[in-house]
């Protein structure tokens, strides 16, 4: 049977939240092309790979090699070409940093064009028709592509994918003959984050703070809120920041949401002490529900929030945390 390859991303031996979605998107493609989904990944091996079966994978192929744990695309591209280059009709990647590197690398090896950061997808005969954001999210473009294999990356959280039955997928370990060139780029130093915080792109709920937070110490309020939300919902909750807060040195850049930060579409986005500049909106306007807390009733963020609270965040946030904790 024809094969659609889903690249499943992992971090330090754990599948990322987006992995199941990538398999789900690949399944949509596979249904249209009359194919089955093979989930592929590499690095330290996660223990729950077989559960990708319930997301739609017919099997999982893993390359167990710790040199793949470095967020470098070249060896993965080589592995994908060796293992599937001849056979797959399509490759689906998450539009994460690693996925966005891998997709064009593989497409270059296969000499085909590709589509980045797709938010919807359907088929018209042989052509795939997709939507993707353009111009920093201000415009949505519709594109058509007929080439095979089809290579695309999907925006995390843009696709609602339903779990199928609880079937498990068989997991195979594959060997790849890497060239020296695959490891030409070398990570020489990692200044690891001391915690294992949820990445804003991987989160179901993002609680973001802006200049209104007033200083780095006050982000503690957001971490406390994130913690109760995690306890109550069992979901992945991340703390985000506007560029103003990042530029001020209050939060690391990896937390920045927006045009020059990360693009997120969580179930719930809370903008706290954030005015809602165009460049910030570019990073969060596709969130399912937006809540804003801002003391300025004229703040532009209220124009697109589903629920807004006009008040001092230093009153509202602690009270919200307290009540949620009490109710739990």
């Amino acid at each position: 049977m024809a094969m659609v390859v889903a690249f499943v991303e992992s971090l330090q031996g754990e599948l990322k939240g987006v992995a199941r979605e990538t398999v789900g998107v690949a399944r949509k493609v596979a249904d249209a092309l009359n194919a089955e989904v093979v989930a592929f990944g590499g690095g330290r091996k996660p223990s729950d790979l077989e559960t990708l079966g319930s997301a739609g994978a017919a099997k999982v192929i893993w390359v167990e090699d710790e040199r793949l744990d470095h967020f470098l695309g070249a060896p993965f591209a080589e592995a994908l070409q060796q293992l599937f280059g001849e056979d797959a009709v399509a490759f689906v990647f998450p539009a994460t940093r690693l996925g966005k590197e891998l997709a064009p690398r593989l497409a270059a090896r296969l000499r085909v064009p590709m589509l980045t950061d797709v938010i919807s997808l359907s088929f018209e005969d042989q052509a795939v028709v997709v939507e993707k954001p353009l111009y920093a999210g201000k415009v949505i473009g519709t594109f058509k592509l007929e080439s095979r294999p089809l290579v695309l990356s999907h925006r995390p959280k843009a696709f609602m994918v339903e779990a199928t039955d609880g079937t498990t997928a068989p997991v195979e370990v594959a060997q790849v003959n890497f060239s020296d060139g695959a490891f030409a780029a070398k990570v020489v130093e990692v200044r690891a984050k001391d915690d294992r915080e949820v990445d804003v792109q991987d989160a179901d709920i993002v609680v973001s703070g802006g200049r209104g937070m007033g200083g780095p110490e006050n982000f503690k309020l957001l971490y406390e809120l994130a913690e109760v939300l995690t306890q109550r919902t069992g979901k992945k909750v991340a703390v985000g920041a506007s560029r103003a807060a990042v530029d001020a040195g209050w939060m690391p850049h990896s937390h920045q949401v927006g045009q020059t930060g990360k693009v997120v579409s969580p179930e719930l986005y809370m903008a706290i002490g954030i005015s809602g500049a165009l460049q910030h909106l570019a990073g969060m306007r596709t969130s399912r529900v937006i809540v804003a807390i801002n003391k300025d009733p004229e703040a532009p963020i209220f124009k697109l929030s589903d629920f807004g609270v006009v008040d001092d965040l230093f009153k509202v946030v602690p009270e919200l945390t307290k009540r949620l904790r009490e109710e739990a």
């Binding site: 950061d117 201000k138 949505i140 592509l145 030409a184 990445d199 009270e319």
Partner: protein, 252 residues
């Protein structure tokens, strides 16, 4: 050591954009154009290496029509030594594969050790060209750089990943694509602008296909988000209303 900075002319996305009624394109009648912001950071990184005496020549390169020479002039005014335009009449009709093929075809006859690019051009937000180019040339490439340094025949760059900050070493020749950097791009000086007028722009014919296979069918504004409820109730009533809202949406 010779380096290339890839620069692309794009609409300024800091202002609201409109689309034509038939959806064939964005409304270009009142647009401002700029150098793609991440290309600005990459160019600045290259200029810093040049200022430090580590580059002998910096060439700004664009694939585009005559109008796209604006960004080459800007790059020259900031300190690039010369510029090259690979001439294509409709740059929007090129996909990442085709753009990178054109650049690779030109680059293979040049003695270049480093290519600087942006992590993505803000118009198509494709994040493709530098990685296609890396594979076509067989050079190592890393994106999301925030700083870099040249040390003999190694390029050291700083980047951020999901596990923290990292230093990555690339043996030359290599490609580096920049995110928003740790430094701000310079503005061209008056003297630079004057000097740029005398610096050469080479126009080269593209080799091969100048249309891509990715077809843009239409563009549209994203569905407008309706403003929802905004409560001006007194504290702590407003917090209660917020919690009720979150419950109603089944978020908590």
């Amino acid at each position: 050591m010779r380096a290339i900075a890839l620069v692309k002319k794009v609409p300024d996305t800091g202002i609201p954009l409109k689309v034509l009624p038939d959806g064939s394109d964005i409304d270009r009648s009142s647009l401002q154009y700029v150098m793609s912001p991440y290309d600005e950071y990459a160019l600045e990184a290259a200029l810093r290496l040049k200022d430090a005496g580590k580059l002998t020549e910096l060439i700004a390169l664009t694939v585009g029509d005559e109008g796209s020479e604006d960004v080459l002039r800007t790059a020259l005014a900031k300190g690039a030594d010369r510029a090259v335009r690979i001439q294509v009449e409709n740059p929007d009709a090129l996909d990442g594969l085709r753009t990178a093929e054109r650049i690779a075809a030109w680059l293979k006859d040049q003695d270049v050790q480093v290519v600087f690019a942006g992590k993505e051009a803000v118009d198509d937000a494709a994040a493709q060209v530098h990685f296609y180019l890396a594979e076509f040339l067989g050079w190592p490439a890393v994106s999301y750089a925030v700083d870099c340094e040249l040390d003999g025949d190694t390029l050291h760059l700083e980047r951020e990943t999901d596990r923290g900050e990292e230093t990555v070493a690339l043996p030359l020749p290599a490609i580096v694509a920049f995110d928003r950097a740790r430094f701000e791009p310079r503005l061209p000086s008056l003297r630079g602008i004057m000097q740029a007028k005398r610096k050469p722009i080479d126009r080269v014919e593209p080799q091969g296909e100048t249309r891509g296979a990715v077809v843009r069918v239409k563009v549209a504004l994203p569905p407008a988000r309706e403003a929802g409820t905004v409560t001006t109730s007194e504290f702590p009533q407003n917090v209660e209303e917020l919690i009720a809202f979150l419950k109603e949406k089944k978020l908590i």
